[in-house]
Symmetry: C2
Subunit: 269 residues, 2 copies
DNA sequence: CTCAATTTGTTCGTATGTATG
DNA sequence: ACATACATACGAACAAATTGA
């Protein structure tokens, strides 16, 4: 058994999907350039060590995604304008976290069974006396890219209730007077979509996601903002400045600077 | 067709794998506690809307992973000590980036076709006159968790060649005298393992990975350190301090504070 | 101890999907 | 396009272990 075959074997995902994901990656990484003719079926069979039909299944999948087109007698070509990844740049500092989302309009969702209070881990402060729970889906060009589950301290929400329903909470929070923020942090892990997240984000169950937890703590050590955010993995990019002045900053073309208008449906807190 | 069935359908991954990934997530998120009896097969069939055999296939998979054990007549139980994720905390600032890796011993790999120079994007500085290329795999308790592809400016490498072979490059770089670092940054995106990465990290082809690019730029605007690092997605956690003093820091139990000793094999630069 | 209820384990037949040559 | 083999998924029935009445 070849080494490649053993590597295929480590995943129980169908072979043609594995081949497709390698090819998809090559296109997205730019190893295969737009308009370029890719290897012939025969070369691909040899490279991936699979049957011709299996390569064709993979190609068919990518063709449906608009990444390839085939022409009998000529070959298989990368699309001239393969659908681009819209990288949503996640920030690692307070200022650049607020900037790209401040004009965004979340679509609030009805919540049937709102959890009464957030579960706070060590370093996440003390619980506030009362929270309201907001759930929203973030859209960019009618494509969902994140689900936000937010516990917001009631006393904070009451300062500007309508603003918190119409705008992303973090910029509203930052603009509130008479509120001292002592600390804010965010953690990120890579997870997989559960059925509900998969449904809302229009991805497959188990498809990779970026799971963020963002906590804001006030001067009294109370967690006033506790958000669990699930992003589609294919539209997030994280930029960290490690040392020195900010440069190599995210390009202005990416990130949802202008948000699509969203419908606001019923809300229960 | 039910909503759930449509969500299943969005992924062409076998159904039992999708069910398994949802169950695995519940265990890892703590929704199902160690030792606890989970729902009966019949309840699971109804919940996931799949046949009994399909639930059993998913359960069998998780049993092999050591997350579950079953007992005829009694039920199915979460393992008392389910294998834990060892979160490797990635840093978002210079100091905490160096701390956890400084004692690590990378296993250097032979490189057959070293790329002559890194491809530098905008904001990544000017290329150095010459680079050496190092590839290594990082291990923790004999489990690989990352692949490092590093372009290091030759003039920097020459200051302490042996140190760069025996230790992670970044701490060595930081300890060098007569070198002024002007800027350093890192970006992270979520990707999928190509066959080579899958082989080295012992994961499936297409399995999610964290792809980091770390660039260090000196006082002359020259990129002296350009690393592409691929982490297994299941062992990284990112902690970002957004505002205020550092707190809620990663627990000391996680992260590879003490590195496993690694063999150093042949190296070609 | 036996009985019944519960729950996992096994097997059949059938249909469809995946993969090869 | 065809023949072949194996994996996936379904529903249903039956077997075997455990529990408590």
């Amino acid at each position: 058994m070849s080494k490649l075959a053993r590597t295929y074997d480590r995943s129980r995902v169908p072979l043609y999907l594995q081949v497709a994901s390698v090819m998809r990656r090559r296109i997205e990484a730019g190893h295969w350039q737009p308009g370029q003719k890719i290897s012939t079926l025969e070369e691909l069979e040899r490279e991936f060590e699979v049957a011709r039909v299996t390569v064709r299944q993979a190609i068919e999948l990518l063709r449906e995604e608009g990444l390839l087109h085939c022409q009998q007698g000529r070959g298989t070509f990368i699309a001239d304008d393969p659908p681009r990844r819209r990288w949503l740049t996640l920030a690692t500092d307070w200022a650049s976290l607020l900037e790209p989302i401040k004009d965004n309009v979340p679509r609030l969702m009805k919540v049937d069974d709102p959890p009464p209070a957030p579960e706070l881990g060590p370093g996440e402060g003390r619980p506030a006396p009362d929270y309201i729970f907001l759930r929203s889906v973030q859209f960019k060009e009618d494509e969902p890219y994140a689900i936000v589950n937010l516990h917001l301290a009631r006393e904070v929400y009451d300062k500007a209730p309508q603003d918190f329903l119409d705008h992303p909470a973090l910029p509203v929070l930052a603009s509130l007077g008479g509120l001292r923020i002592k600390h804010a942090h965010q953690t990120l892990v890579i997870g997989g979509a559960d059925p509900e997240a998969a449904d809302l984000l229009r991805i497959g169950i188990g498809a990779p996601t970026a799971e963020c937890r963002c906590v804001v703590i006030d001067e009294h050590d109370v967690a006033i903002y506790v958000a669990d955010i699930t992003y589609r993995s294919d539209c997030v990019k994280l930029h960290m400045n490690l040392f020195g002045s900010a440069r190599g900053k995210p390009r202005t073309s990416s990130g949802p600077r202008k948000a699509a208008a969203g419908e606001v449906s019923t809300l229960r807190a």
